[in-house]
C-alpha cells in the first residue's frame, strides 16, 4: 500500500481540475466496534442534567400510627379537616410520596474516553468514508457521484450564496443525497416533539473545509448538509448513529491537510493487527497449502443427514410402509371428496323423510283427538 492511489479533484461545475494523492489516514483499519464504542460514549457528552425536586414528597409532617389501629403502618399525615389527613406519606408506594431513588443532578452525565481511542475512531471513520460500498451501505444516495472520496477545488471554501452551493452539489452528483434528506423531514415520534425537537431528518453530505471563507453560510441552510473544519473533525458527524461511512465532500485544502494532521508530525495513524486480513485467501495460498499434511485416506464420507419429516425418501428408510400409507390416505381423501355430494344428498333425504313422518304422525293425532261423536261415522276414521 505504499503507492497510494490518485484522487481526482473536481471543479465547481463538476469537471476534472486536478489530482492529489490519497492521504494515509484513508488506509487506516476499519474498526466498527471501536467507532461504535466511542460514539455511544461521546454522544452522552452533550446531555443536560435532569432530576426530581430534592424536596419532592418530603414536604409533609407525617408519623406512623403504629400498630393496633387496623391500618397499615406507613407514616400518615396528621391533623384533620382535610382529605389529606390520614393519608399515607413518604413512601414510594404512597400517593404524593417521594419516588424510589430520587434522581439526582450529580449523576455522572459525561463519559471520559481515552484520547487514543477517540483518535482511532476518527481515523477509522475517515477510512470508511473513502469506501463507496460502506457509504452506500450507510444509506447515502451516491449513484451519480463521480468519485469517492469526493474532493473539490479549494475555491469551494469561498462560495457565498446558498443557490451557488446547491448548484455545486448538483454538478457533482451530491444533490440526490441532499434531496433524500430534505424529503425525509417528519415530525418526530414521541415526546421529543413537544420538547423542542419537533422534526427529524436524514443526514446528507458532510462538507469538510480548511478555512471558512463563506462555506459555512453558503451550505448551512441546505437540509441535511453539515459542515466541519478539518482541524476539528467530529466523530458524531463522521459516523452518525455509530455507523461508519458518511458521505463527505472535501475541499482540496482540507484533503491535503489530512496528510499533515495525520502522519509523522501529527496524530498517529492506527495500524492494523493483520496486514492481510483475507484469511480465506491466505489458507488457499500456495505457501500454506504446500506445507499442509495430505488428507487422511480411507475416511468415511458421511452424507448430510436428511430430515425424515421433510424428505419422503428419508422417511422411507425409517418406515417402509410410509409411502403406502400416504398413498392410501390420499386416495381415501379423494374418494371422500367425490362421495361427498352423494352422502350429503342421502342425509338430506333422510332428514326430509323424518320430517314428513313426524308431520304425518302429528296430523293423525290431531284428527284423532278431535272432540265429537266417536261413532258418528261408524267406527272408521277418515
Amino acid at each position: 500500500m505504499s503507492a497510494r492511489p490518485l484522487v481526482t479533484v473536481f471543479g465547481l461545475s463538476g469537471e476534472k481540475v486536478g489530482e492529489t494523492t490519497l492521504p494515509a489516514v484513508m488506509t487506516a483499519p476499519l474498526r466498527p466496534d471501536i467507532v461504535q464504542f466511542v460514539h455511544t460514549n461521546m454522544n452522552k457528552n452533550h446531555r443536560q442534567a435532569y432530576a426530581v425536586n430534592i424536596r419532592a414528597g418530603k414536604q409533609v409532617v407525617a408519623e406512623s400510627w403504629g400498630t393496633g389501629r387496623a391500618v397499615a403502618r406507613i407514616p400518615r399525615v396528621g391533623g384533620g379537616g382535610t382529605s389529606r389527613s390520614g393519608q399515607g406519606a413518604y413512601g414510594n408506594m404512597c400517593r404524593g410520596g417521594r419516588m424510589f431513588a430520587p434522581t439526582k443532578t450529580w449523576r455522572k452525565w459525561n463519559k471520559k474516553i481515552n484520547i487514543s481511542q477517540k483518535r482511532y475512531a476518527v481515523a477509522s471513520a475517515l477510512a470508511a468514508s473513502a469506501v463507496p460500498a460502506l457509504v452506500m451501505a450507510r444509506g447515502h444516495v451516491i449513484d451519480e457521484v463521480p468519485e469517492i472520496p469526493l474532493v473539490m477545488e479549494s475555491s469551494i471554501e469561498a462560495s457565498k450564496k446558498t443557490s451557488v452551493a446547491k448548484d455545486i452539489l448538483n454538478a457533482v452528483g451530491a444533490l440526490a443525497d441532499m434531496e433524500k434528506a430534505a424529503d425525509s423531514k417528519q415530525v418526530r415520534a414521541g415526546k421529543g416533539k413537544m420538547r423542542n425537537r419537533r422534526y427529524v431528518l436524514r443526514r446528507g453530505p458532510l462538507v469538510i473545509y480548511k478555512a471558512n471563507d463563506g462555506v459555512e453560510q453558503a451550505f448551512r441552510n441546505l437540509p441535511g448538509v453539515e459542515l466541519c473544519c478539518v482541524d476539528r473533525l467530529n466523530l458524531l458527524q463522521l459516523a452518525p448513529g455509530g455507523h461508519m461511512g458518511r458521505f463527505c465532500i472535501w475541499s482540496q485544502a482540507a484533503f491535503d491537510a489530512l496528510e499533515t494532521i495525520y502522519g509523522e508530525g501529527g496524530k498517529r495513524i492506527p495500524t492494523a493487527a493483520m496486514t492481510n486480513a483475507d484469511i480465506a485467501r491466505i489458507i488457499n495460498s500456495d505457501e500454506i497449502q504446500s506445507i499442509l499434511k495430505a488428507p487422511k485416506a480411507g475416511q468415511k464420507q458421511h452424507a448430510p443427514k436428511r430430515n425424515p419429516l421433510r424428505s419422503l425418501e428419508a422417511l422411507e428408510a425409517l418406515d417402509p410402509y410410509a409411502a403406502a400409507k400416504r398413498r392410501a390416505q390420499a386416495s381415501a381423501e379423494a374418494t371422500r371428496a367425490s362421495k361427498k355430494a352423494e352422502i350429503l344428498a342421502a342425509k338430506r333425504q333422510q332428514a326430509k323423510d323424518k320430517k314428513q313422518y313426524k308431520a304425518a304422525g302429528k296430523a293423525f293425532y290431531e284428527k284423532v283427538s278431535k272432540q265429537g261423536d266417536i261413532c258418528a261415522n261408524g267406527f272408521t276414521l277418515e
Binding site: 476499519l30 460500498a133 452506500m136 444509506g139 455507523h243 492481510n276 486480513a277 484469511i279
Partner: protein, 318 residues
C-alpha cells in the same frame, strides 16, 4: 479482495441499509437485499453487490434486458461502476452473450445470472399473454387494492356526507318553495312537520308581539294612571275562569270567548267592581294585539249559585 472481506464483515455484522427481513419475528433468519443491483435478492457473501468488486447482474427495463457488470478498476467511482450491456431479445442469443461477457467471472455468478435471465424471460412472456387476454376480453385486468388509500377515501366520504347536512338543506329548500307557492295549494301535509311549522310561525308572531309590548313599556318616566291595577293582577292570579257571560257558542260544541268589543267593555267594568263581585270572574286581560283566539273550551254546565261564600270559605280553610 482484502477490501471485499473488510466490507463484508462490516456490512453483515453491523449495519447495511439494504438488508431487510420480511417478518418481524426474531426467528426469521433469512435476510433479503433491497439493493437494485443484487442478482439474487438474498443477503449473502456471494450475492452482495457491495461486498463483491467483481459482480454482474441482469436488470429489465420496459422489456429491454441489460447486463450490468462491475469490476475492481471502477470501484472508486460510483457513477461509472456499472457497465451496461444490452442483451439480445432472443433467449438463446442472450445466453450466448452471457457466456461471452462473464467468461472470467466466478461460475456461481454466471449461473445466477443465467437463472435470472430465464426468470425474466418467463415473466415477460406471461405478462404478454395476460395483456393479450385482457385486450381480447377473455381475462379481466387485475388491479391492486390499496387498503390504506381506499380506507382513507371511505372515511372522507363518510365525513363529507355528515358535513353536507343534506336533510337540512333539502328541508330548507322545500320550505322555501312552499312559502313561494310553487306547489300551489296542497292540502295533505304530514302532521308533525305541519304542526312544527305552525308553532314556529306562532313563535315568530309572539316574539314580535313581545317586542311591541316591550316597546310600549320602555317609556320610562311616563306616569300612567290606571284604575284598580292591583285588583286586575289579583284576578289574574286566581284560577282563570272565563267569564261565563263572555262565552259565545261558536258551533260544534265549542265555546270560546267573544272577541268583539263587548268583552272589552266588560273588562273595564269588572275591575271597578273588584272582588265584591259575586261572580268569580276573572277579568280577562287580553293582550293588546292578540290575533289568536282563546283556547277552545268545552264547558260543563253547572248551576249558578247566588251564595259563593262557601267555596271561598272552603278555599280559605285549607
Amino acid at each position: 479482495m482484502q477490501h471485499d472481506e473488510m466490507i463484508w464483515s462490516v456490512i453483515s455484522q453491523n449495519f447495511c441499509s439494504f438488508k431487510t427481513t420480511i417478518g418481524k419475528a426474531k426467528s426469521d433468519k433469512t435476510y433479503f437485499c433491497r439493493n437494485p443491483y443484487s442478482v439474487t435478492g438474498l443477503c449473502n457473501r456471494t450475492s452482495c453487490p457491495l461486498a463483491n468488486s467483481k459482480y454482474a447482474t441482469i436488470r429489465e427495463q420496459n422489456g429491454r434486458i441489460h447486463l450490468f457488470v462491475k469490476t475492481v478498476e471502477r470501484a472508486h467511482s460510483p457513477k461509472n461502476v456499472w457497465e451496461k450491456i444490452l442483451l439480445s431479445r432472443n433467449y438463446g442469443k442472450a445466453l450466448a452473450q452471457l457466456d461471452e461477457h462473464l467468461e472470467f467471472f466466478p461460475k456461481v455468478l454466471m449461473h445466477r445470472n443465467k437463472q435470472r435471465l430465464t426468470k425474466i424471460h418467463q415473466y415477460l412472456i406471461r405478462m404478454r399473454k395476460i395483456e393479450l387476454k385482457v385486450r381480447s376480453g377473455r381475462k379481466a385486468k387485475l388491479v391492486g387494492v390499496h387498503r390504506k388509500i381506499d380506507q382513507r377515501e371511505e372515511r372522507r366520504e363518510r365525513k363529507a356526507l355528515v358535513a353536507a347536512k343534506l336533510e337540512q338543506t333539502i328541508e330548507k329548500e322545500l320550505v322555501e318553495r312552499l312559502a313561494k307557492g310553487t306547489y300551489g295549494d296542497i292540502y295533505n301535509f304530514p302532521e308533525t312537520p305541519y304542526r312544527k311549522a305552525l308553532e314556529q310561525a306562532e313563535e315568530t308572531e309572539q316574539e314580535s308581539e313581545t317586542e311591541m309590548e316591550e316597546e310600549d313599556e320602555s317609556d320610562d318616566g311616563m306616569v300612567e294612571y290606571v284604575e284598580d291595577l292591583d285588583s286586575e293582577e289579583e284576578d289574574e292570579l286566581e284560577d282563570e275562569e272565563e267569564d261565563v257571560e263572555n262565552m259565545e257558542y261558536l258551533g260544534n260544541g265549542n265555546w270560546g270567548e267573544n272577541e268583539s268589543g263587548e268583552s272589552d267593555s266588560d273588562n273595564e267594568e269588572s275591575p271597578s267592581s273588584g272582588k265584591t263581585d259575586k261572580k268569580p270572574s276573572a277579568s280577562k286581560t287580553k293582550k293588546p294585539a292578540a290575533k289568536r283566539r282563546g283556547p277552545r273550551v268545552e264547558i260543563e254546565y253547572e248551576e249558578e249559585r247566588e251564595d259563593h261564600v262557601e267555596p271561598v270559605a272552603a278555599e280559605a280553610s285549607w
